[in-house]
Amino acid sequence: MKMDAPDAVLFDLAQTPVRELNQFLHGDLAGVKRVVVGNPDGAHSIAVGVDAAVEVLIDGHAGYYAAGMNKHAAVTIAGNAGPGVAENMMSGTVRVKGFASVSAGASANGGLLVIEGDAGLRCGISLKGADIVVGGDVGAFSAFMAQAGRIVVCGNAAENLGDSLYEAVLYVKGEVKSLGADARFEPMTEGDFSAVAELLAAAGLKHDARTFKRIASAKQLYHWNADANQEY
């Protein structure tokens, strides 16, 4: 750990274990505005459980669960992120400059996750209220059982998008390979256009909100139906 400016702290993970970084981030961060994580080299659990309005820059690729359970912090990953980036985030923002692996933003309750590249399988699985904006494509089974929140996909979505959706709403610009059980296309309203425009602006991505399609739950699985023959 070294102070490279009065209000910024540098952790070089080539020299310092992740444990020390996280312990520091869980302590009193008064006066600390920015934490820079050097040589992350795909380490797991970088900047997990942060509960402070601090900026964290991960200067490279992160492993599993980067910024997991984040509250308030603004975390930027300059490279790619492994599985479960920003899992169960409560608030704050997490930005992945590269690609994100599987289960990005899994069960996140709040805050904004931006993935500038593509996201893997199950992006936004069990989403509980957070917003996710993906600059590229999302993999199969994205938004599986997503309960609340919004997902904007600027590229294409792979198979079974939105399977068993609850109240979360999905917006896709490109092609949707297939929808999952109980997901359906719905007409875009003015409210949807402004929501997409607002999320794109927050993510800093330039697309025309009018080119997005809306996917939401048909709500046929909300109640047990014996005649469905388990076709879902």
């Binding site: 996280n22 599985p83 069990s126 014996a226």
Partner: protein, 452 residues
């Protein structure tokens, strides 16, 4: 009586063993409704269980302890492998995870108070942590389940241990189920779900797949909690020997093994009765796995699924468990399946309410309906008042204390100053099946089927 008259009740009315009344009822119900049965609690079929084991008390070859004068410790420590603050309990009997949603907030509070008074822990469930249970519980285990309902970092930080739930004995391989009638506004808000929907929670965790991922997930939870608190891993009993080994390799401090008699708030009857293995078989396989890895004592084993009495606890400990966990026994203690409920010190009959559910005390398993006649497994604002937290807390405390006294009684009789000194050598089995599963000799012989 004429010579040609035949007594019809022996020949003319023979019930089929294959198609007995129960089976015929099942077929006719399925035919009428096109639905499988969903119910609460655990396996009802007869299974080899702790009843099939007996203790060999002290005699000439072993020296007993004085029952009322000599100390017998029941102190229990869980999570000594990695946690800075292991869970320290006065007894090896803990309260199992049961969700707020399945149970009312009053019940969760009563359980916290009872556990605290008895010096043991209680556990959240698939619905998050309520203020009532955190406030009332000295030691609270916070479950991390596939659904992640209500799961959040603030509660992670204020938990005394985290239990990553892979499965439960009533339904290994199955997710959760909470029918719409139990999703009231508060439950819905905690789970971020619309009110009144039938909620089926996932069978798989959203952010990890398999034991290699679980290893990394456990480290994430340790990092979030600064390695302070123990991480338990709970599995439903199936391939216990392999699963316990994988849980240990994944970095668990404590492994919880739940046998098929373990309860559920709602699952298909066919799942409850036909998937999983009995607790008795599971304990021995779990202990074998820990011994095989030379981790016995370093990773603690908690056993659950049909633990009812101090004798059951003693037998589980003698087989090698470090503690037990109880769910259904606690519900019965609170008044589940009782004839009456208590209001202001008066017993009031609940018989008519059982009848409205098509059942009677002693048979009820209608937890899934939310219409619990004694106010235990309900979210109904009127029914939940039938369980007064004071009454519930006192009953559960009494039950826990009774079991612990029974446990120490047996331990003393076997000559142990500490309940954790009970050992396999103190046990024999009454049946060949129990002897084979538990790996102890058939009573009166030195024969352990399959082992010698």
């Amino acid at each position: 009586m004429k010579i040609n008259d035949i007594p019809v009740h022996t020949v003319g009315r023979e019930q089929s063993a294959t198609f007995d009344r129960k089976t015929i009822d099942y077929i006719q119900h399925a035919s009428a409704s096109g639905l499988y049965e969903i119910r609460g609690l655990g396996a009802k079929r007869a299974l080899p269980h702790f009843d099939d084991l007996l203790f060999l008390g002290a005699s000439l070859s072993r020296y007993p302890l004085e029952g009322y004068r000599e100390k017998c410790s029941s102190k229990t420590v869980l999570g000594t492998r990695f946690a800075k603050n292991p869970v320290e309990l006065e007894m090896p009997i803990t309260i199992a995870g049961m969700s707020f949603g399945a149970l009312s907030a009053n019940v969760k509070e009563a359980l916290g108070r009872a556990a605290t008074a008895a010096g043991t822990s209680t556990t959240t469930g698939d619905g998050g942590m309520t203020e009532e249970e955190r406030r009332s519980s000295k030691t609270l285990v916070y479950q991390c389940l596939p659904s992640r309902y209500g799961f959040n970092p603030d509660d992670v930080r204020r938990a005394d241990a985290i239990e990553v739930v892979i499965g439960q004995g009533a339904k290994p391989g199955g997710g959760g189920m909470l029918l719409g009638q139990k999703i009231n506004p508060r439950v819905a808000k905690m789970r971020v779900l619309p009110e009144g929907v039938d909620q089926r929670s996932a069978a798989r965790h959203p952010d990890w797949t398999g034991p290699d991922d679980l290893t990394i997930k456990i480290i994430e939870l340790r990092e979030i909690t600064d390695w302070r608190i123990p991480i338990y891993v709970k599995i439903g009993a199936t391939r216990v020997f392999n699963d316990v080994k994988l849980a240990v390799h994944s970095g668990a401090d404590v492994v919880v093994v739940d046998g098929m008699q373990g309860g559920t708030a709602a699952t298909q009857t066919t799942f409850i009765e036909n998937v999983g293995i009995p607790t008795l078989a599971a304990v021995r396989q779990a202990v074998d796995a820990l011994e095989d890895l030379n981790m016995k004592g370093r990773v603690q084993l908690v056993v659950s699924g049909g633990i009812r009495t101090g004798a059951d606890v003693a037998k589980a400990l003698a087989l090698g468990a470090d503690a037990v966990s109880i769910g259904q026994g606690i519900l019965f203690s609170l008044g589940c399946n009782a004839d009456t409920y208590v209001q202001g010190g008066r017993h009031i009959s609940a018989i008519d309410d059982y009848a409205r559910l098509g059942t009677a005390p002693g048979y009820c398993h209608h937890c899934h309906t939310g219409q619990c006649p004694t106010g235990v497994t309900t979210q109904d604002p009127l029914l939940e008042k039938r369980l007064e937290p004071d009454v519930g807390a006192q009953r559960v405390r009494n039950y826990l204390k009774t079991m612990n006294m029974e446990l120490t009684t047996i331990a003393r009789a076997c000559g142990k100053q500490n309940v954790h000194h009970l050992e396999r050598e103190d046990l024999v089995a009454l049946t060949v099946e129990a002897a084979a599963m538990a790996g102890v000799p058939l009573a009166g012989t030195s024969w352990i089927p399959g082992r010698n």
